[in-house]
Symmetry: C2
Subunit: 157 residues, 2 copies
DNA sequence: TATTGTTATACTCTATAACTATA
DNA sequence: TATAGTTATAGAGTATAACAATA
């Protein structure tokens, strides 16, 4: 197990990494906020899925997911078909238009990272990716749980 | 330079790491949102400073910094004294009460990370810290710049 | 005239709760 | 009764612009 000091430093790094996330968000195309980019990316990687599955992958509440999905659906980037197996559910699927947006996203993301990280080796980026993935796994299901005790916050961010 | 594929993956990891940040935010004490914790932590690490310096360290606009600082000042966690060298500026300084909050923050952060990352070695956490610090350095000054072109967003997050 | 900091406004993101429709 | 999804409401975070005070 790691030292107290390392944990304090990690808390600080996590707090500060928001600046990088914001910078990445700034390069997105018009009408495509970071949340929309996340929805499209996950549908591309995992294929057709239901709202609840998407919310699980995004690690956010389904109510929030619903709005993000509505945003991309209104722009024609995804389709929402009723699930024949359960009429309460809707199956989400990328449209050709959505795939075009994804192409643009990919181009902008990689161009931006290639610019900022021009002195990073492939192994460096790979290692960071692995550690971030492991960090998320270690935190497991981070979505809000019911019954918080009254001494802790239940914030929004 | 790293491969296209690695950059796409990093973009995805950065997008998803928000879940971990939110979980860390949930364990903060009442009346102490993540932004307040950030202000207190930076004042502790770097000592007394001006608004503009704090905004620089937080990598957010000074207008936002002003509000975060007001929040912690209203709770008596910092003092704001006029800078004798420049009457436009105010020097920010932790109070004993602010240091007590910091003690609590440190305890909660480390306890939470120790729980989630119980199978991480000291070297693992250290390596992640190094890579995150390097990532932030590579992005340099990520705060918003004037004169964006019209094809990119200028979001809030 | 330029800079430091504050305030007003708007937008993004998220959580909780109430609601509808279906299982 | 329980579950999938939507909508309304509230709160946190940030950016831009306008403003006040000082350099």
């Amino acid at each position: 197990m790691a030292a107290h000091r390392q944990f304090e430093e990690l808390a600080r790094q996590l707090s500060a990494i928001g600046a990088v996330k914001r910078e990445m968000g700034r390069i997105l195309p018009q009408d495509c906020p970071p949340a929309s980019a996340g929805v499209l990316t996950l549908l591309d990687r995992h294929g057709e899925m239901r709202m609840s599955q998407l919310a699980e992958l995004l690690a956010i509440d389904m109510s929030v997911t619903s709005r993000h999905v509505a945003h991309v659906a209104e722009r024609g980037w995804i389709e929402r078909e009723p699930d024949p197996a359960d009429k309460r559910s809707r199956l989400l699927r990328l449209t050709p238009s959505g795939r075009e947006v994804l192409e643009e996203l990919s181009a902008r993301y990689t161009a931006t990272l290639a610019r900022y990280l021009n002195d990073w080796s492939d192994a460096d980026v790979g290692h960071l990716n692995e550690l971030l993935a492991r960090l998320r796994t270690s935190f497991g299901d981070c979505r809000p749980r019911a019954h918080h005790d009254s001494t802790t916050r239940t914030p929004a961010e």
